[in-house]
Amino acid sequence: MKRFLLAWGLCIATGAALAQSGAAPSGALGGGLRGPTPLDVETRPPLLPKPVNDDQRKPRAYPAQPPVIPHQTDNYQIDLRFNKCMSCHGRDRVGESQAPMVSVTHYLDREGNMRQEISPRRYFCTQCHVPQTEVRVPVKNEFTDFYKVPAESAKPAAKGARK
């Protein structure tokens, strides 16, 4: 055991030494979030992006995607005592608020029993549902919607799956 540890330690040490000797100048690390700022200098944080607050429902990118929140949720209280989201999205509140009701799946507990109130395991809305901001992403998202995949490229994969 001791010998193994020693060998492991040596490996790390040499690795670190190699990395240090071959370190590229910080500017060459590419853009990313830091931009051309050297590693030993703090970047100037970007301005806080503007929250999307237009109340227009956004399409889901895939069927099981938790819908994103199309409004501001600053200082919404979601804790042991109170869930602000449910004061509009709760079952008995949507008539007045005209907000979409939380999905019925949120009323099922883990045994599959339908409950009166939202299930504790689905209680913390912002674990899955997030508000959006108007921001220029530093890394482009290459996700393609299932419907937008060209038919030719989708076909062979489907055939392969059937075999």
């Binding site: 237009d54 109340d55 501001q72 804790d79 005592r81 109170f82 449910m86 004061s87 005209q98």
Partner: protein
């Protein structure tokens, strides 16, 4: 003891009920006037001193619980730096209402002396009751303390989000609802709400 006290009261009354022997009427009138001004000034200064955030948060009950919660909200920190202090929302600005509220607040002095919310747990246990008092007050006076700053006539719906427009131009405009009906918990965390939560 009682007899001596009664004797003193009788003597005092005989002095007060007879005309002054040594002081002129002019002195008494002008002197009384000046004394009145001094008294009123002192009274008002003392009253205003209890109407400041520094005074409110000098008790740990207020400082450690509700004041900390306020700090994260828009009524404490925002873009333009205009802010509301404790008395802006919790003490009526109108004089008679203010005095009435201040007399009610003697209950709070009692609570302070006997430590009715002197720990976090005691505060949390009593929080619903305390909150209900404030909701009831704001409901009864049509959210007067909100409206001291947020004037309905000056609201530009076109500058509001669609959701806010929809609510403010209907239920609020018709007077069916008042600010506090929807904006509970705007400046502090809410207690355990049960079904009121959603009201």
């Amino acid at each position: 003891m009682m007899r001596r006290l009664a004797g003193f009261a009788r003597h005092a009354w005989s002095v007060v009920s007879r005309p002054s022997v040594y002081f002129s009427l002019g002195f008494l009138v002008v002197g009384g006037f000046i004394a009145g001004i001094v008294f009123w000034g002192a009274f008002n200064t003392a009253l205003e001193a209890t109407n400041t955030e520094v005074f409110c948060t000098s008790c740990h009950e207020m400082h450690d619980n509700v004041f900390q919660e306020l700090k994260a909200t828009i009524h404490y920190t925002n873009r333009s730096g205009v802010r509301a202090t404790c008395p802006d929302c919790h003490v009526p600005h109108n004089w008679t209402d203010k005095i009435a509220r201040k007399m009610q607040a003697s209950k709070e002095v009692w609570g302070k002396i006997f430590g009715s919310i002197n720990t976090r747990d005691k505060f949390l246990a009593k929080r619903r009751e305390l909150a209900e008092h404030e909701w009831a007050r704001l409901k009864a006076n049509n959210s007067l303390e909100c409206r001291n700053c947020h004037n309905f006539e000056s609201m530009d719906f076109t500058r509001q989000s669609e959701r806010a427009q929809a609510q403010h131009s209907t239920a609020l405009a018709r007077g069916e609802k008042t600010c506090i009906d929807c904006h509970k918990g705007i400046a502090h965390r809410l207690p355990e709400m049960g079904r009121v939560a959603e009201r």
